[in-house]
Symmetry: C2
Subunit: 334 residues, 2 copies
């Protein structure tokens, strides 16, 4: 075992589009453990859009990162040293250790995973924050009734793909929005959405109208910007919007101005913006459903794995510009 | 009694700013009553911002008006002929008879008013739709806790003035936004808000920040546009927005693009757009509170009364451009 911890920190606040120069790699000695702590060697890191607004020096749901601070993130790893008998070496854990090769945990800050788990990285997608976010947005906030129309933006993305499949399990007509024919084909043929519209198509609005003949009762919104405005033109009376992300705007220097306030008002829409970190008490409910559906083969998902922590910045930028395909992961160690 | 009914109809859909040329006056014979009906001579008509979007040929919460159709609106009047013994001539009623001198009602379509009521027009403001709208938005949707900060836009307006006073009764810090120093003075000195900021002031944003040192927990929004964006810059975590109106945009040819989606997401705000017509079952609850507070002298309000039905279009335009002061009413008959 190496005796250094490799970390990727934010070097500076990005100006508009994030670049690799906004990060730097630092190395530090491995920490000495206190009683009750364990040292984890990270195997996989999850990259998620929420990390981008954390890099801006603005009032937000968490303290903004300061230059030199470790990039945050969900991780799966194994305990390699321990001063807690309940976390013996070899224990597989999901934690929030960020962009680093090692980290220190306690029992309270990890979720211990089944050592026989076939695909531990699933704890970062369908059986982790990704899945719980999708469940909360669709089930708790969207409250879709069978037969209603649910639209999911970034439908081929990690959260969007699960969100749409949950809406299908609830008996809804589910329409995805994604970028490009390949992603749209995946959303319909692999994930089982009823339709998927390519927002890059020149007749996007017309296609969206054709795909939502009964208008839109629930919108699971990951993207914001003009795509959201297009959906608002199709919004139904008393629709519910789960506002989960605004990824089209995270790297924008000037925010897009959303034109659809009239639609919100005239159709008496409720818009719930949420961050799943606020709802720790919801995890057990959601994970029970997600685990059962996953076991029964009802939730399909794709992983996009990049090798090596050093490639995390490039993979992060690739994800924010929609060039990944599937849940973005970084393999830190085998 | 005249034997003609005078009506103001929408002549054509307005293009952008509504003008007097978009209306015309028509006269028709008084209707013959069926069993169970009564003829009402209207005394007062309420003018409200919601009437403007009804004039646009767009999908909305009600069928858009067609050219030639009667302008809608709340009215107070007296029964002058009756074929229902429960509505004898002389009965004072509140109804939705629109911009006309007479109308036909049944027991189910009116609220019978106390004949001894000192100010029957109050049934169109504090003790009617205006008051119920304010109550629903603040109490039911905003759910303000004592000590929280509530911001009300169009604070000197009919709904805004009541909304802010209700929030004061609930123990909140209440900050109004209004146009011009005279209205702001009224909001603070007459209505008892803690502060009122003039959105026309060159340092409006700085004044708003100073008036909301603990940020904004509840926004009762009547106006939309850049004023709403300014409030979103001050929004607190888990804030609630009661989206009641968007009057700054009703006459706009191009809708304003709301820039504050980031604020909604980062602060996990819930935005409830509502139209009080959806919530008939809420009226008794709200009217019980409003009547008690009104009796106890706890709700102040101002009326801006224009004389003569023929002046309704001009008064309507005046109200939409914020040049009225108080609840806009039209006296149709004495």
């Amino acid at each position: 075992m190496t005796d250094l911890n490799t970390q990727i920190v934010m070097k500076r606040h990005p100006a508009g589009m994030v670049s690799e120069d906004d990060f730097s790699v630092v190395q530090a000695p491995l920490p000495t453990l206190q009683e009750g702590q364990a040292l984890v060697r990270n195997l996989v890191l999850s990259l998620d859009p929420y990390m981008r607004p954390r890099m801006d020096p603005l009032r937000s749901y968490a303290e903004p990162l300061k230059p030199g601070e470790l990039m945050p993130g969900g991780t799966v790893g194994e305990v390699v040293q321990s001063r807690d008998p309940e976390l013996p070496p070899g224990t597989l854990v999901a934690a929030l250790l960020g962009w680093q090769s090692h980290g220190v945990v306690t029992k309270a800050t990890v979720r211990v995973l089944d050592p026989g788990m076939k695909q531990p990285s699933a704890a970062l997608s369908v059986l982790g924050m990704t899945g719980v976010t999708a469940h909360y947005g669709i089930v708790k906030l969207g409250q879709p009734k069978p037969g209603e129309t649910v639209v999911v933006t970034a439908a081929s993305g990690a959260v969007g793909g699960i969100a749409g499949q949950i809406a299908k399990l609830k008996g809804c007509r589910v329409v995805g929005i994604a970028g490009g024919p390949e992603k749209c084909r995946y959303v319909v043929e692999e994930l089982g959405f009823d339709a998927c519209v390519d927002y890059r198509a020149p007749d996007f609005e017309a296609q969206l109208a054709a795909a939502t003949p009964n208008y839109v009762d629930v919108l699971f919104e990951n993207v914001g910007g003009p795509v959201m405005d297009a959906v608002l033109q199709r919004i139904n009376d008393h629709a519910r919007i789960a506002l989960c992300g605004n990824v089209s705007q995270y790297n924008a220097r000037e925010p897009y101005g959303l034109k659809g306030m009239r639609q919100l008002l005239m159709h008496r829409v409720t818009t719930y913006a949420f961050v799943i970190a606020d709802h720790r008490d919801y995890w057990p409910t959601a994970l029970a459903d997600l685990s059962a559906w996953h076991r029964e083969g009802k939730l399909r998902f794709k992983e996009d794995v990049v090798e090596g922590l050093g490639n995390a910045p490039a993979a992060f930028i690739r994800m924010l510009t929609g060039r990944n395909f599937g849940k973005q992961l970084v393999r830190i160690a085998a």
